[in-house]
């Protein structure tokens, strides 16, 4: 070990690894979020603002189908009041069950709808995948429920994509029609048009709605939709770690005591 390990480390330090092909995306921007670190928690105001950005901007193309309305007033989330949560749910039209005549369409052939309730999930903007592609130049806007966990870089990646538009593509990059240059996206060409502009939403709490602010808030909101139990996890984790460290200390003392005469 005395020779092999330092030898290996020295070798590792000497060389640099690089993929031969260089069409990779930039690493995500280094921004900080309130939920990072062992004591991190979601910023409630940011979650509520982020929800507003999702509702008024992203939801035009992106579904959020793993999130139920009732989670909006639960602890660890945006923590809207129960009345606010119910009002949000009622603001969505959900496909109704068959009526008493067994119909799911009205006389004009429209799908029967009803107001959303807390147990419903966010309805998506498109009826199915083909409808989504047809409306988006052939591209499929991904569901956002797990977007932060299913992309390397997580919330930083989401923030970087949303704020990564507007740069001129390098001269040697040939843009495909209908694509937008975004150096943070794998392949650097993304089908999503720049979704955010300054003052695109009006925040109730008076926060200035810059692109940066909107992107940061919606990245926070989508982190919560990906990992809604994070605060519960970190709180419980703290108690468990304290308990385990105390237990380890006691077990260490009993181990030393048992072995006192055996060495």
């Amino acid at each position: 070990m005395r020779i092999a390990l330092p030898l290996g480390l020295a070798f590792a330090a000497m060389v640099s690894t690089a993929a031969l092909a260089d069409d990779t995306n930039l690493p995500p921007k280094d921004v900080s979020f309130s939920f990072e670190g062992p004591f991190g928690h979601y910023d409630r105001a940011a979650l509520q603002r982020g929800f507003q950005v999702y509702k008024e901007v992203c939801s035009a193309c992106h579904s959020l189908n793993r999130v139920a309305f009732h989670t909006l007033d639960e602890s660890g989330g945006p923590e809207f009041s129960e009345a606010e949560m119910k009002a949000i749910a009622a603001g969505y039209q959900i496909d109704a069950d068959p009526n008493e005549q067994g119909d799911i369409f009205d006389a004009k052939g429209n799908r029967l709808k009803r107001a959303g309730t807390p147990s419903d999930y966010f309805p998506g903007p498109f009826a199915n995948e083909n409808a989504a592609r047809a409306a988006n130049n052939g591209a499929l806007p991904p569901d956002l429920s797990l977007i932060v966990k299913e992309r390397a870089g997580g919330a930083h990646y989401v923030y970087s994509i949303l704020t990564g538009f507007g740069q001129k593509p390098p001269a040697d990059v040939k843009m495909q029609t209908g694509m937008y240059y975004n150096p943070y996206f794998p392949g650097r060409q993304i089908a999503m048009p720049p979704p955010l502009t300054d003052n695109q939403v009006t925040f109730n709490d008076g926060t200035k709605a810059t692109v940066d602010q909107e992107a940061h808030d919606v990245a926070t909101f989508l982190s919560w939709t990906s990992e809604p139990k994070m605060e519960e996890r970190k709180h419980l984790g703290f108690d468990v770690m304290i308990f385990l460290l105390a237990l380890s200390g006691l077990l260490y003392l009993s181990y030393r005591r048992v072995w006192k005469d055996a060495h």
Binding site: M1, G8, T17, G237, H263
Partner: protein, 426 residues
């Protein structure tokens, strides 16, 4: 090693039971008074740690199975429902997923410890072989479990691994494809595959528990090896398992669980692949298909061979080789403490395995830039694979013949206690 039983039933009931089913005597002899070398160090605690993790995996797994749905359209949703709707479902699932990682971390330490101290040598060959059987069962169980999540990486890992069997077509036409079709229960990885993988994933842990029973039995016949690698010569060399090793193991188990819980609560997706949070999609292949970290060294070996069938044979050979270790080592001395050359090659082997793991995690066309010259990683993997096999098939037999071992100590007691009077074992 355990010698005649010293158990004396004390109550009327235990005397009655002892004459009919001496189960208390058995527990007493194997778990309490069992004579254990007095010099076992930290590295010997991993047997206890592994037992605890097998228990954690089985208990969390049984509860997860109550909420999981093995159906291609519902599996991923049911896992997300466990994460969101089931009380403490997120905890169960993170414990189970990371439990597998820590189970493997512990088994690798346990195996390297066995290699370093020569614990596979006579009279412990069967003990070692049973250990390798457990390791193979663990890899199968972990792979099957990873598929159950039914994310993109699950689906494509299942596709890649089951397709390895189709390489047998190159030996006997159609046989490999027939085996793959039989494994899938169809013509591709699908609902039937998921269902049988779930069934087997539930079954294999109990097979592991059974082989662990045999493993411990095979341990209790010759008794523990120890860091000196010399035989126990009498009661002065041993301590009863309880309270000495129960106390020592309990402390190290707790420390290991601290590490495990730190990951479960503060970085539960540490070893996970983000792509596996995307539901399985048979028409979209992820850019890089990578297995979980504990299988990466074998993946690197597989990919380092350009020919598919040969690659599969190398992969299988890397595991099968482990069964022959007791007979490949020609040295009379067990412990590397007294084997200066072998000690060097051993640590180089550890570095080699970690390097292979790293290489398996990199994309196929990656390269190291050495002073301006690109060294493709596939070539690094070839050298690392060569050392893996060379260590077992060349170094283990040859070094034992030429190496001049250091002088062995007279006894365990003397080595531990110096010239002080050894304490009686009781």
């Amino acid at each position: 090693m355990s010698g005649p039983s010293t158990y004396v039933p004390k109550t009327a009931f235990s005397r009655w039971l002892d004459a009919r089913l001496p189960i208390i005597r058995f527990a007493n002899d194997t778990m309490l008074t069992f004579p254990t070398p007095r010099n076992l160090n930290f590295w010997y605690a991993f047997g206890a740690i592994l037992t605890v993790f097998l228990g954690i995996q089985i208990v969390t797994g049984i509860v997860l199975a109550m909420h999981y749905v093995p159906n291609e359209n519902l599996a991923f949703d049911s896992v997300e429902s466990i994460m969101r709707d089931v009380n403490y479902g997120w905890l169960l699932r993170y414990m189970h997923a990371n439990g597998a990682s820590f189970f493997f971390l512990a088994v690798y330490v346990h195996m390297f410890r066995g290699l370093y101290y020569g614990s596979y040598k006579a009279p412990r060959e069967v003990l070692w072989i049973l250990g390798v059987v457990i390791y193979v069962l663990m890899m199968a169980t972990a792979f099957l479990g990873y598929v159950l999540v039914w994310g993109q990486m699950s689906f494509w890992a299942a596709t890649v691994i089951t397709n390895l069997f189709s390489s047998l077509d190159q030996i006997v036409p159609h046989v490999g494809t027939a085996i793959a079709t039989w494994l899938w229960g169809g013509f591709a990885v699908g609902d039937a595959t998921l269902n049988r993988f779930f069934s087997l994933h539930y079954l294999l842990p109990f097979a592991i528990a059974a082989v662990v029973g045999l493993h411990i039995w095979a341990l209790h016949v010759p008794g523990n090896n120890n860091p000196l690698g010399i035989d126990v010569k009498g009661p002065q060399d041993t301590l009863p398992f309880h309270p000495y090793y129960t106390a020592k193991d309990a402390f190290y188990v707790a420390l290991f669980v601290v590490l495990y819980m730190a990951v479960v609560f503060y970085n539960p997706d540490l070893t996970g692949n983000p792509d596996n949070y995307i539901p399985a999609n048979p028409v979209v292949t992820p850019p890089d298909i990578v297995p979980e970290w504990y299988l990466l060294p074998f993946y690197a070996m597989l990919r380092s061979v350009p020919q598919k069938l040969l690659g599969v044979l190398v992969l299988a050979g890397a595991i099968v080789t482990l069964f022959f270790v007791p007979w490949l080592d020609t040295s009379k001395v067990r412990s590397c403490r007294f084997r200066p050359q072998m000690k060097f090659f051993f640590w180089f082997f550890v570095v080699d395995c970690i390097l292979l793991g790293y290489l398996g995690s990199q994309s196929v066309d990656a390269a190291w830039n050495l002073a301006g010259i690109d060294l493709p990683l596939v070539w690094v993997a070839r050298f690392a694979t060569a050392y893996y096999f060379g260590f077992f098939w060349v170094l283990l037999p040859l070094v034992g013949l030429f190496e001049k071992p250091k002088a062995l100590p007279d006894s365990i007691a003397k080595s531990v206690l110096g010239n002080a009077q050894p304490m009686p074992a009781e």
